[in-house]
Protein backbone atom coordinates (compact mmCIF):
# COMPACT_ATOMS: atom_id res chain seq x y z
CA UNK A 1 0.00 0.00 0.00
CA UNK A 2 2.69 2.47 1.10
CA UNK A 3 4.91 1.23 -1.70
CA UNK A 4 2.27 2.30 -4.20
CA UNK A 5 2.46 5.85 -2.87
CA UNK A 6 6.20 5.96 -2.28
CA UNK A 7 7.26 4.85 -5.76
CA UNK A 8 5.22 7.42 -7.73
CA UNK A 9 6.31 10.05 -5.20
CA UNK A 10 9.96 9.15 -5.75
CA UNK A 11 9.44 9.22 -9.51
CA UNK A 12 7.85 12.67 -9.23
CA UNK A 13 10.82 13.95 -7.24
CA UNK A 14 13.19 12.63 -9.90
CA UNK A 15 11.13 14.21 -12.68
CA UNK A 16 10.93 17.57 -10.91
CA UNK A 17 14.66 17.64 -10.28
CA UNK A 18 15.48 16.66 -13.89
CA UNK A 19 13.14 19.33 -15.24
CA UNK A 20 14.74 21.87 -12.96
CA UNK A 21 18.23 21.01 -14.22
CA UNK A 22 17.20 21.06 -17.90
CA UNK A 23 14.73 23.92 -17.74
CA UNK A 24 16.78 26.24 -15.57
CA UNK A 25 18.63 27.71 -18.53
CA UNK A 26 15.66 27.78 -20.87
CA UNK A 27 13.50 30.49 -19.34
CA UNK A 28 13.23 33.97 -20.90
CA UNK A 29 14.07 36.77 -18.52
CA UNK A 30 12.95 40.40 -18.67
CA UNK A 31 15.84 42.73 -19.47
CA UNK A 32 16.85 45.03 -16.64
CA UNK A 33 20.32 46.52 -16.97
CA UNK A 34 22.16 49.67 -15.92
CA UNK A 35 24.91 51.46 -17.77
CA UNK A 36 26.90 54.60 -17.08
CA UNK A 37 28.78 56.94 -19.35
CA UNK A 38 30.63 60.14 -18.60
CA UNK A 39 27.56 62.41 -18.77
CA UNK A 40 24.59 60.17 -18.16
CA UNK A 41 23.65 56.92 -16.48
CA UNK A 42 20.55 54.95 -17.39
CA UNK A 43 18.65 51.82 -16.42
CA UNK A 44 16.94 50.03 -19.27
CA UNK A 45 14.00 47.69 -18.69
CA UNK A 46 12.18 45.57 -21.23
CA UNK A 47 9.39 43.58 -19.60
CA UNK A 48 8.79 41.28 -22.55
CA UNK A 49 11.91 41.12 -24.73
CA UNK A 50 10.50 39.44 -27.85
CA UNK A 51 10.57 40.15 -31.57
CA UNK A 52 7.90 42.59 -32.75
CA UNK A 53 6.50 45.54 -30.87
CA UNK A 54 8.22 46.18 -27.54
CA UNK A 55 8.09 48.79 -24.84
CA UNK A 56 11.46 49.93 -23.53
CA UNK A 57 11.68 51.93 -20.34
CA UNK A 58 14.74 54.12 -19.85
CA UNK A 59 15.26 55.60 -16.41
CA UNK A 60 17.92 58.30 -16.46
CA UNK A 61 19.82 57.79 -13.20
CA UNK A 62 22.46 60.48 -13.72
CA UNK A 63 22.47 63.65 -15.83
CA UNK A 64 19.60 65.78 -17.04
CA UNK A 65 18.49 64.29 -20.36
CA UNK A 66 15.94 66.14 -22.48
CA UNK A 67 15.59 63.51 -25.14
CA UNK A 68 16.22 59.79 -25.45
CA UNK A 69 16.37 57.92 -28.75
CA UNK A 70 16.67 54.15 -29.10
CA UNK A 71 18.10 52.03 -31.90
CA UNK A 72 19.20 48.41 -32.08
CA UNK A 73 21.80 46.32 -33.87
CA UNK A 74 22.18 42.57 -33.95
CA UNK A 75 25.94 42.24 -34.51
CA UNK A 76 25.82 38.52 -35.19
CA UNK A 77 23.53 38.90 -38.21
CA UNK A 78 24.35 42.48 -39.23
CA UNK A 79 20.78 43.68 -38.66
CA UNK A 80 20.01 47.26 -37.70
CA UNK A 81 16.66 48.89 -36.88
CA UNK A 82 15.73 52.57 -37.27
CA UNK A 83 15.96 54.94 -34.37
CA UNK A 84 12.82 55.61 -32.39
CA UNK A 85 12.26 58.51 -30.05
CA UNK A 86 11.24 57.78 -26.50
CA UNK A 87 8.74 60.06 -24.79
CA UNK A 88 9.26 61.41 -21.31
CA UNK A 89 6.41 60.20 -19.10
CA UNK A 90 7.77 61.61 -15.84
CA UNK A 91 10.98 63.53 -15.13
CA UNK A 92 13.82 61.14 -15.91
CA UNK A 93 11.59 58.29 -17.08
CA UNK A 94 11.28 57.69 -20.82
CA UNK A 95 9.22 55.13 -22.69
CA UNK A 96 10.01 53.99 -26.21
CA UNK A 97 7.55 51.88 -28.16
CA UNK A 98 8.09 50.25 -31.51
CA UNK A 99 9.64 47.40 -33.45
CA UNK A 100 13.23 47.34 -32.30
CA UNK A 101 14.09 43.67 -32.59
CA UNK A 102 13.27 41.76 -35.76
CA UNK A 103 14.37 38.33 -34.56
CA UNK A 104 15.50 36.40 -31.50
CA UNK A 105 19.11 36.57 -30.39
CA UNK A 106 21.50 38.97 -28.67
CA UNK A 107 20.89 42.58 -29.66
CA UNK A 108 22.81 45.69 -28.79
CA UNK A 109 20.48 48.48 -27.78
CA UNK A 110 21.89 52.00 -28.22
CA UNK A 111 20.49 54.76 -26.07
CA UNK A 112 21.29 58.24 -27.39
CA UNK A 113 20.74 60.81 -24.66
CA UNK A 114 20.80 64.54 -25.23
CA UNK A 115 20.53 67.40 -22.78
CA UNK A 116 22.28 70.52 -21.53
CA UNK A 117 25.36 68.44 -20.70
CA UNK A 118 25.67 67.34 -24.33
CA UNK A 119 24.99 64.19 -26.28
CA UNK A 120 26.12 60.72 -25.31
CA UNK A 121 25.38 57.27 -26.61
CA UNK A 122 25.21 54.36 -24.20
CA UNK A 123 24.77 50.72 -25.18
CA UNK A 124 23.46 47.61 -23.43
CA UNK A 125 23.10 44.03 -24.55
CA UNK A 126 19.68 42.44 -24.54
CA UNK A 127 18.70 38.83 -25.11
CA UNK A 128 15.57 38.65 -27.23
CA UNK A 129 13.59 35.42 -27.01
CA UNK A 130 10.21 34.18 -28.20
Amino acid sequence: MRLKIALPAAALVVAAVALFVVGRSASAEPVHVSTTGTRYAATVSIADPAPGRVTVEVKVDKGDADSVALSAVMPEMGHATPELTATEREPGRFLGEGELFSMTGVWELSIRLDGPAGEEELAVKALITE
Partner: protein, 445 residues
Protein backbone atom coordinates in the same frame (compact mmCIF):
# COMPACT_ATOMS: atom_id res chain seq x y z
CA UNK B 1 11.50 10.83 -18.66
CA UNK B 2 14.62 9.51 -20.35
CA UNK B 3 13.19 10.67 -23.69
CA UNK B 4 12.72 14.18 -22.36
CA UNK B 5 16.28 14.24 -21.07
CA UNK B 6 17.66 12.82 -24.31
CA UNK B 7 15.77 15.46 -26.30
CA UNK B 8 17.11 18.16 -24.03
CA UNK B 9 20.62 16.74 -24.40
CA UNK B 10 20.34 16.74 -28.20
CA UNK B 11 19.04 20.33 -28.20
CA UNK B 12 21.93 21.44 -26.02
CA UNK B 13 24.46 19.64 -28.26
CA UNK B 14 23.06 21.32 -31.37
CA UNK B 15 23.73 24.75 -29.94
CA UNK B 16 27.29 25.97 -30.39
CA UNK B 17 29.56 26.82 -27.50
CA UNK B 18 29.60 30.56 -26.78
CA UNK B 19 32.71 32.47 -27.78
CA UNK B 20 34.75 34.20 -25.14
CA UNK B 21 35.38 37.91 -25.50
CA UNK B 22 37.40 39.92 -23.01
CA UNK B 23 36.42 37.98 -19.97
CA UNK B 24 38.35 37.96 -16.75
CA UNK B 25 37.70 34.92 -14.57
CA UNK B 26 39.72 33.28 -11.86
CA UNK B 27 42.40 31.23 -13.58
CA UNK B 28 41.82 32.83 -17.00
CA UNK B 29 43.78 36.06 -17.28
CA UNK B 30 43.21 38.71 -19.90
CA UNK B 31 46.48 39.44 -21.73
CA UNK B 32 46.46 42.30 -24.16
CA UNK B 33 49.44 43.72 -26.06
CA UNK B 34 49.60 47.49 -26.43
CA UNK B 35 52.03 49.85 -28.11
CA UNK B 36 51.94 52.74 -25.68
CA UNK B 37 54.43 55.56 -25.04
CA UNK B 38 56.60 54.07 -27.78
CA UNK B 39 56.99 50.79 -25.91
CA UNK B 40 55.70 47.31 -26.57
CA UNK B 41 53.94 46.05 -23.42
CA UNK B 42 51.40 43.39 -22.50
CA UNK B 43 48.79 44.29 -19.90
CA UNK B 44 47.76 41.31 -17.76
CA UNK B 45 44.49 41.41 -15.81
CA UNK B 46 44.24 38.53 -13.36
CA UNK B 47 40.78 37.25 -12.56
CA UNK B 48 39.10 37.18 -9.20
CA UNK B 49 37.15 34.33 -7.67
CA UNK B 50 34.75 36.60 -5.80
CA UNK B 51 33.21 40.06 -5.76
CA UNK B 52 33.84 42.31 -3.97
CA UNK B 53 37.37 41.14 -4.48
CA UNK B 54 40.83 41.99 -5.73
CA UNK B 55 41.64 42.51 -9.41
CA UNK B 56 45.38 42.36 -10.02
CA UNK B 57 46.84 44.16 -13.02
CA UNK B 58 50.45 44.09 -14.24
CA UNK B 59 52.24 45.56 -17.24
CA UNK B 60 54.85 43.26 -18.81
CA UNK B 61 57.51 45.15 -20.79
CA UNK B 62 59.23 43.58 -23.76
CA UNK B 63 61.78 46.38 -24.06
CA UNK B 64 64.10 48.15 -21.66
CA UNK B 65 61.63 50.85 -20.63
CA UNK B 66 63.28 51.91 -17.35
CA UNK B 67 60.20 51.72 -15.14
CA UNK B 68 57.60 53.29 -17.40
CA UNK B 69 54.66 54.24 -15.15
CA UNK B 70 51.25 53.22 -16.51
CA UNK B 71 48.16 54.78 -14.96
CA UNK B 72 45.35 52.25 -14.44
CA UNK B 73 41.69 53.11 -13.99
CA UNK B 74 39.02 50.43 -13.71
CA UNK B 75 35.42 51.57 -14.07
CA UNK B 76 32.29 49.49 -13.73
CA UNK B 77 30.05 50.34 -16.68
CA UNK B 78 26.97 49.36 -14.69
CA UNK B 79 27.36 51.70 -11.73
CA UNK B 80 30.23 53.96 -12.83
CA UNK B 81 32.34 53.20 -9.76
CA UNK B 82 36.01 53.87 -10.52
CA UNK B 83 39.21 52.71 -8.85
CA UNK B 84 42.72 53.75 -9.83
CA UNK B 85 46.30 52.56 -9.37
CA UNK B 86 49.67 52.90 -11.04
CA UNK B 87 51.63 50.00 -12.47
CA UNK B 88 55.27 50.04 -13.51
CA UNK B 89 56.14 48.28 -16.73
CA UNK B 90 58.88 45.68 -16.22
CA UNK B 91 59.97 42.36 -17.66
CA UNK B 92 58.69 40.68 -14.49
CA UNK B 93 56.24 43.25 -13.15
CA UNK B 94 54.74 43.76 -9.71
CA UNK B 95 50.98 43.54 -9.87
CA UNK B 96 48.89 46.48 -8.73
CA UNK B 97 45.82 45.44 -6.77
CA UNK B 98 42.49 47.13 -7.46
CA UNK B 99 39.21 46.30 -5.83
CA UNK B 100 36.16 45.42 -7.90
CA UNK B 101 32.76 45.56 -6.25
CA UNK B 102 30.70 43.71 -8.85
CA UNK B 103 30.75 41.45 -11.87
CA UNK B 104 29.76 42.50 -15.39
CA UNK B 105 31.09 45.00 -17.91
CA UNK B 106 34.07 47.13 -16.93
CA UNK B 107 36.50 49.45 -18.68
CA UNK B 108 40.24 49.56 -18.09
CA UNK B 109 41.78 52.91 -18.93
CA UNK B 110 45.55 52.90 -19.46
CA UNK B 111 47.57 56.10 -19.44
CA UNK B 112 51.25 56.39 -20.34
CA UNK B 113 53.35 58.97 -22.15
CA UNK B 114 50.36 61.18 -22.95
CA UNK B 115 48.44 58.33 -24.58
CA UNK B 116 45.22 56.76 -23.33
CA UNK B 117 43.68 53.41 -24.19
CA UNK B 118 40.29 52.10 -23.08
CA UNK B 119 39.99 48.32 -22.91
CA UNK B 120 36.49 46.92 -22.30
CA UNK B 121 36.28 43.67 -20.38
CA UNK B 122 33.92 41.67 -18.21
CA UNK B 123 34.52 40.45 -14.68
CA UNK B 124 33.03 36.98 -14.32
CA UNK B 125 32.69 34.90 -11.17
CA UNK B 126 31.69 31.26 -11.39
CA UNK B 127 28.42 30.35 -9.77
CA UNK B 128 28.19 27.15 -7.78
CA UNK B 129 27.08 24.34 -10.08
CA UNK B 130 23.50 23.15 -9.59
CA UNK B 131 24.47 19.70 -10.88
CA UNK B 132 27.14 19.28 -8.20
CA UNK B 133 24.62 20.33 -5.58
CA UNK B 134 22.13 17.71 -6.84
CA UNK B 135 24.73 14.93 -7.07
CA UNK B 136 26.06 15.43 -3.56
CA UNK B 137 22.64 16.37 -2.18
CA UNK B 138 21.02 13.26 -3.70
CA UNK B 139 23.71 10.96 -2.36
CA UNK B 140 23.59 12.62 1.07
CA UNK B 141 19.79 12.24 1.29
CA UNK B 142 20.04 8.62 0.12
CA UNK B 143 22.64 7.83 2.77
CA UNK B 144 20.53 9.42 5.53
CA UNK B 145 17.37 7.62 4.44
CA UNK B 146 19.12 4.26 4.07
CA UNK B 147 20.39 4.47 7.62
CA UNK B 148 16.90 5.52 8.73
CA UNK B 149 15.39 2.63 6.73
CA UNK B 150 17.75 0.12 8.34
CA UNK B 151 16.97 1.44 11.83
CA UNK B 152 13.19 1.43 11.31
CA UNK B 153 13.46 -2.02 9.69
CA UNK B 154 15.31 -3.22 12.76
CA UNK B 155 12.51 -1.78 14.88
CA UNK B 156 10.11 -3.84 12.69
CA UNK B 157 8.14 -1.02 11.08
CA UNK B 158 8.09 -2.27 7.47
CA UNK B 159 5.87 0.53 6.09
CA UNK B 160 8.13 3.37 7.27
CA UNK B 161 11.21 1.39 6.30
CA UNK B 162 9.85 0.93 2.80
CA UNK B 163 9.06 4.66 2.44
CA UNK B 164 12.55 5.57 3.60
CA UNK B 165 14.11 3.03 1.24
CA UNK B 166 12.07 4.46 -1.63
CA UNK B 167 13.31 7.95 -0.71
CA UNK B 168 16.86 6.64 -0.68
CA UNK B 169 16.33 5.10 -4.10
CA UNK B 170 15.02 8.43 -5.37
CA UNK B 171 18.10 10.23 -4.02
CA UNK B 172 20.46 7.74 -5.66
CA UNK B 173 18.51 7.99 -8.92
CA UNK B 174 18.69 11.79 -8.96
CA UNK B 175 22.43 11.74 -8.28
CA UNK B 176 23.05 9.04 -10.91
CA UNK B 177 20.94 10.75 -13.55
CA UNK B 178 22.61 14.08 -12.99
CA UNK B 179 26.04 12.43 -13.19
CA UNK B 180 25.08 10.75 -16.47
CA UNK B 181 23.44 13.78 -18.07
CA UNK B 182 25.56 16.59 -16.63
CA UNK B 183 27.96 16.72 -19.62
CA UNK B 184 25.05 17.55 -21.93
CA UNK B 185 23.40 20.13 -19.78
CA UNK B 186 24.43 23.75 -20.43
CA UNK B 187 26.35 24.94 -17.40
CA UNK B 188 24.91 28.03 -15.83
CA UNK B 189 26.81 31.07 -17.12
CA UNK B 190 29.15 32.75 -14.65
CA UNK B 191 27.90 35.77 -12.79
CA UNK B 192 28.43 38.91 -14.89
CA UNK B 193 28.50 37.13 -18.28
CA UNK B 194 27.11 38.82 -21.38
CA UNK B 195 23.82 37.36 -22.59
CA UNK B 196 24.25 34.68 -25.24
CA UNK B 197 21.66 33.22 -27.56
CA UNK B 198 22.72 29.73 -26.48
CA UNK B 199 21.57 30.47 -22.95
CA UNK B 200 17.94 30.73 -24.03
CA UNK B 201 15.62 28.27 -25.63
CA UNK B 202 13.91 29.44 -28.79
CA UNK B 203 16.77 31.74 -29.71
CA UNK B 204 18.25 31.43 -33.17
CA UNK B 205 21.45 29.44 -33.34
CA UNK B 206 24.53 31.52 -34.20
CA UNK B 207 24.91 32.15 -37.92
CA UNK B 208 28.64 31.48 -37.67
CA UNK B 209 30.52 34.66 -38.38
CA UNK B 210 29.72 38.34 -38.22
CA UNK B 211 29.71 40.77 -41.15
CA UNK B 212 33.07 42.02 -42.42
CA UNK B 213 34.71 45.06 -40.94
CA UNK B 214 36.07 47.87 -43.05
CA UNK B 215 38.87 50.14 -41.92
CA UNK B 216 38.90 53.82 -42.72
CA UNK B 217 42.58 54.59 -42.26
CA UNK B 218 43.91 58.09 -41.73
CA UNK B 219 47.05 59.72 -40.40
CA UNK B 220 47.08 62.71 -38.07
CA UNK B 221 48.46 65.00 -39.46
CA UNK B 222 47.10 64.06 -42.87
CA UNK B 223 50.56 64.24 -44.46
CA UNK B 224 53.19 63.15 -41.95
CA UNK B 225 56.81 64.11 -42.50
CA UNK B 226 59.98 62.06 -42.10
CA UNK B 227 61.23 61.96 -38.52
CA UNK B 228 58.02 63.46 -37.17
CA UNK B 229 55.71 61.55 -34.88
CA UNK B 230 52.24 60.95 -36.32
CA UNK B 231 49.16 58.97 -35.33
CA UNK B 232 47.90 56.20 -37.56
CA UNK B 233 44.17 55.86 -36.99
CA UNK B 234 41.86 53.00 -37.99
CA UNK B 235 38.12 53.57 -37.77
CA UNK B 236 36.47 50.18 -38.07
CA UNK B 237 33.00 50.07 -39.59
CA UNK B 238 30.60 47.13 -39.84
CA UNK B 239 29.88 46.40 -43.49
CA UNK B 240 26.22 45.52 -42.83
CA UNK B 241 25.09 48.14 -40.36
CA UNK B 242 27.57 50.98 -40.82
CA UNK B 243 28.07 51.08 -37.07
CA UNK B 244 31.51 51.17 -35.43
CA UNK B 245 32.98 47.69 -34.96
CA UNK B 246 33.57 47.47 -31.24
CA UNK B 247 33.47 43.72 -30.76
CA UNK B 248 37.07 42.75 -31.45
CA UNK B 249 38.23 39.71 -29.54
CA UNK B 250 41.69 39.37 -28.15
CA UNK B 251 43.42 37.46 -30.93
CA UNK B 252 46.99 36.30 -30.24
CA UNK B 253 47.01 38.59 -27.20
CA UNK B 254 45.97 41.76 -29.05
CA UNK B 255 42.89 43.54 -30.36
CA UNK B 256 44.73 44.04 -33.65
CA UNK B 257 48.17 43.25 -34.99
CA UNK B 258 49.21 46.11 -37.23
CA UNK B 259 52.15 45.69 -39.59
CA UNK B 260 53.36 48.95 -41.08
CA UNK B 261 55.99 48.72 -43.82
CA UNK B 262 57.43 51.16 -46.31
CA UNK B 263 56.88 50.12 -49.92
CA UNK B 264 60.57 49.12 -50.19
CA UNK B 265 60.32 47.11 -46.97
CA UNK B 266 63.20 48.90 -45.26
CA UNK B 267 60.87 50.25 -42.59
CA UNK B 268 59.01 47.64 -40.55
CA UNK B 269 56.88 47.90 -37.44
CA UNK B 270 54.64 45.26 -35.86
CA UNK B 271 52.56 47.22 -33.35
CA UNK B 272 49.39 46.85 -31.29
CA UNK B 273 47.19 49.93 -31.61
CA UNK B 274 45.25 51.35 -28.69
CA UNK B 275 41.46 51.42 -28.60
CA UNK B 276 40.78 55.10 -27.96
CA UNK B 277 37.02 55.11 -28.66
CA UNK B 278 34.41 52.55 -29.78
CA UNK B 279 35.62 51.17 -33.12
CA UNK B 280 38.72 53.37 -33.16
CA UNK B 281 42.31 52.09 -32.99
CA UNK B 282 45.31 54.42 -32.87
CA UNK B 283 49.07 54.06 -32.73
CA UNK B 284 51.87 56.61 -32.79
CA UNK B 285 54.67 56.06 -35.28
CA UNK B 286 57.65 57.89 -36.72
CA UNK B 287 58.66 57.20 -40.31
CA UNK B 288 62.32 57.20 -41.29
CA UNK B 289 61.96 57.67 -45.08
CA UNK B 290 59.51 59.44 -47.36
CA UNK B 291 57.23 57.63 -49.75
CA UNK B 292 54.44 55.15 -49.78
CA UNK B 293 53.67 53.06 -46.69
CA UNK B 294 51.42 50.04 -46.26
CA UNK B 295 49.36 49.15 -43.20
CA UNK B 296 48.06 45.60 -42.75
CA UNK B 297 45.76 45.05 -39.77
CA UNK B 298 45.00 41.54 -38.59
CA UNK B 299 41.95 41.31 -36.33
CA UNK B 300 39.07 39.10 -35.33
CA UNK B 301 35.47 39.95 -34.43
CA UNK B 302 33.58 38.05 -31.75
CA UNK B 303 32.15 34.73 -32.99
CA UNK B 304 34.00 35.17 -36.29
CA UNK B 305 37.22 34.22 -38.02
CA UNK B 306 40.22 36.46 -38.50
CA UNK B 307 40.41 39.09 -41.19
CA UNK B 308 43.09 41.23 -42.76
CA UNK B 309 42.46 44.89 -43.57
CA UNK B 310 44.84 46.82 -45.80
CA UNK B 311 45.45 50.49 -46.42
CA UNK B 312 48.19 52.79 -47.61
CA UNK B 313 49.41 56.27 -46.69
CA UNK B 314 52.18 58.59 -47.79
CA UNK B 315 54.97 60.20 -45.80
CA UNK B 316 56.31 63.44 -47.21
CA UNK B 317 59.83 64.73 -47.03
CA UNK B 318 63.11 64.95 -48.85
CA UNK B 319 64.37 61.55 -50.08
CA UNK B 320 67.87 62.65 -48.95
CA UNK B 321 66.66 62.51 -45.35
CA UNK B 322 66.05 58.79 -45.55
CA UNK B 323 68.49 56.42 -43.93
CA UNK B 324 70.73 55.40 -46.86
CA UNK B 325 70.42 51.81 -47.92
CA UNK B 326 73.61 49.83 -47.59
CA UNK B 327 72.83 47.30 -50.27
CA UNK B 328 71.58 48.10 -53.75
CA UNK B 329 69.13 45.25 -53.57
CA UNK B 330 65.58 46.12 -52.51
CA UNK B 331 64.90 44.38 -49.26
CA UNK B 332 64.24 45.11 -45.66
CA UNK B 333 66.86 46.77 -43.56
CA UNK B 334 67.42 45.87 -39.96
CA UNK B 335 64.95 47.68 -37.73
CA UNK B 336 63.81 47.40 -34.15
CA UNK B 337 60.24 46.34 -33.44
CA UNK B 338 59.04 49.66 -32.17
CA UNK B 339 61.94 51.57 -30.70
CA UNK B 340 63.60 51.93 -34.08
CA UNK B 341 67.05 51.00 -32.79
CA UNK B 342 68.95 48.69 -35.12
CA UNK B 343 69.38 45.11 -34.07
CA UNK B 344 72.83 43.56 -33.90
CA UNK B 345 73.70 41.48 -36.97
CA UNK B 346 71.65 38.35 -36.47
CA UNK B 347 72.02 34.87 -37.88
CA UNK B 348 70.81 34.48 -41.44
CA UNK B 349 67.73 32.24 -41.55
CA UNK B 350 68.14 28.89 -43.29
CA UNK B 351 65.65 27.87 -45.97
CA UNK B 352 64.59 24.33 -46.85
CA UNK B 353 64.50 23.91 -49.81
CA UNK B 354 67.11 26.62 -50.44
CA UNK B 355 64.86 28.06 -53.15
CA UNK B 356 61.26 27.48 -52.03
CA UNK B 357 58.74 26.35 -54.63
CA UNK B 358 55.46 28.25 -54.91
CA UNK B 359 52.54 26.38 -53.44
CA UNK B 360 54.70 23.88 -51.54
CA UNK B 361 55.60 24.05 -47.85
CA UNK B 362 58.99 25.62 -47.18
CA UNK B 363 60.77 25.63 -43.83
CA UNK B 364 62.53 28.68 -42.47
CA UNK B 365 64.85 28.11 -39.55
CA UNK B 366 66.67 30.61 -37.42
CA UNK B 367 69.10 30.11 -34.56
CA UNK B 368 67.83 32.08 -31.58
CA UNK B 369 69.86 33.00 -28.51
CA UNK B 370 69.14 31.40 -25.17
CA UNK B 371 66.52 33.16 -23.06
CA UNK B 372 63.90 33.66 -25.76
CA UNK B 373 60.58 34.24 -24.03
CA UNK B 374 57.07 33.92 -25.44
CA UNK B 375 55.65 37.08 -26.95
CA UNK B 376 52.00 37.30 -28.05
CA UNK B 377 51.60 33.72 -26.88
CA UNK B 378 54.25 32.34 -29.25
CA UNK B 379 58.00 31.82 -29.27
CA UNK B 380 58.47 33.37 -32.67
CA UNK B 381 56.62 35.23 -35.40
CA UNK B 382 57.39 35.31 -39.11
CA UNK B 383 55.83 38.02 -41.24
CA UNK B 384 56.12 37.74 -45.02
CA UNK B 385 55.08 40.34 -47.54
CA UNK B 386 55.11 40.28 -51.30
CA UNK B 387 57.20 43.02 -52.91
CA UNK B 388 54.11 44.86 -54.06
CA UNK B 389 52.52 44.59 -50.64
CA UNK B 390 49.29 43.01 -51.82
CA UNK B 391 50.06 39.80 -49.93
CA UNK B 392 50.86 39.45 -46.25
CA UNK B 393 51.34 36.33 -44.15
CA UNK B 394 51.82 35.93 -40.40
CA UNK B 395 53.31 32.57 -39.42
CA UNK B 396 53.91 31.23 -35.93
CA UNK B 397 56.81 29.21 -34.60
CA UNK B 398 55.97 25.53 -34.25
CA UNK B 399 57.53 24.83 -30.88
CA UNK B 400 60.79 23.30 -32.08
CA UNK B 401 63.12 21.98 -29.41
CA UNK B 402 66.34 23.76 -28.53
CA UNK B 403 67.28 27.29 -29.44
CA UNK B 404 65.94 27.18 -32.98
CA UNK B 405 62.90 28.90 -34.35
CA UNK B 406 61.25 26.99 -37.15
CA UNK B 407 58.43 28.18 -39.42
CA UNK B 408 56.63 26.38 -42.25
CA UNK B 409 54.92 28.38 -44.94
CA UNK B 410 53.76 27.82 -48.52
CA UNK B 411 54.50 30.91 -50.57
CA UNK B 412 51.51 31.33 -52.89
CA UNK B 413 53.30 32.64 -56.01
CA UNK B 414 56.81 32.76 -57.40
CA UNK B 415 58.75 35.97 -56.86
CA UNK B 416 60.65 37.84 -54.18
CA UNK B 417 59.15 38.13 -50.69
CA UNK B 418 60.22 40.36 -47.86
CA UNK B 419 60.30 38.54 -44.54
CA UNK B 420 60.87 39.38 -40.89
CA UNK B 421 61.35 36.96 -38.01
CA UNK B 422 60.50 38.38 -34.58
CA UNK B 423 61.11 37.02 -31.11
CA UNK B 424 61.46 38.46 -27.63
CA UNK B 425 64.47 38.12 -25.34
CA UNK B 426 64.80 39.39 -21.77
CA UNK B 427 64.70 43.09 -22.61
CA UNK B 428 64.07 43.50 -26.31
CA UNK B 429 62.13 42.36 -29.35
CA UNK B 430 64.55 41.18 -32.00
CA UNK B 431 63.54 41.60 -35.64
CA UNK B 432 65.56 39.79 -38.30
CA UNK B 433 64.76 40.95 -41.84
CA UNK B 434 65.62 38.92 -44.92
CA UNK B 435 64.29 38.18 -48.38
CA UNK B 436 63.05 34.91 -49.88
CA UNK B 437 63.14 34.13 -53.60
CA UNK B 438 60.40 31.71 -54.56
CA UNK B 439 60.45 29.76 -57.82
CA UNK B 440 57.56 28.34 -59.82
CA UNK B 441 56.94 24.62 -59.61
CA UNK B 442 58.04 22.45 -62.56
CA UNK B 443 54.43 21.78 -63.49
CA UNK B 444 53.62 25.48 -63.69
CA UNK B 445 56.55 26.33 -65.98
Amino acid sequence: MIRVLCLAAVLVLVMAAPAVAHNVTAGADLRIAQTIAGAEVTVVVKGTSRVPGPLRIGVVAYQAVAGLPVGLEVRSVEDGRTVTATATAAADPRYAELRVERTGPHELRLRAGGETAVVPFRVLVDRGSAADFLIYGGLFVAALLLVGGLLTGALSRPGTAMALAAGAAAGVTVAAMVIVFEPWVTPSPPDGAAPTAEAAAGATVAAGGRPYAQARVATVPARPAVGEEFTLRLDLVDGSTGRPVDDLTVHHEALAHLVVTSQDGRYFRHVHPLRTAPGRLEVRLTADRPGRYLAHAELEREDSGGQLLEAGFTVGGDPEQAVPATAGEPGPQSTGATAGEPDPPAAVPGLRPAVPVAGRPATIELAAPAGVRPWLGMTGHLIVRSRSGDFLGHVHEMGSPGSRLRFTFSFPEPGRYLAWVQYATGDRIVTTPFTVDVTASEAAR
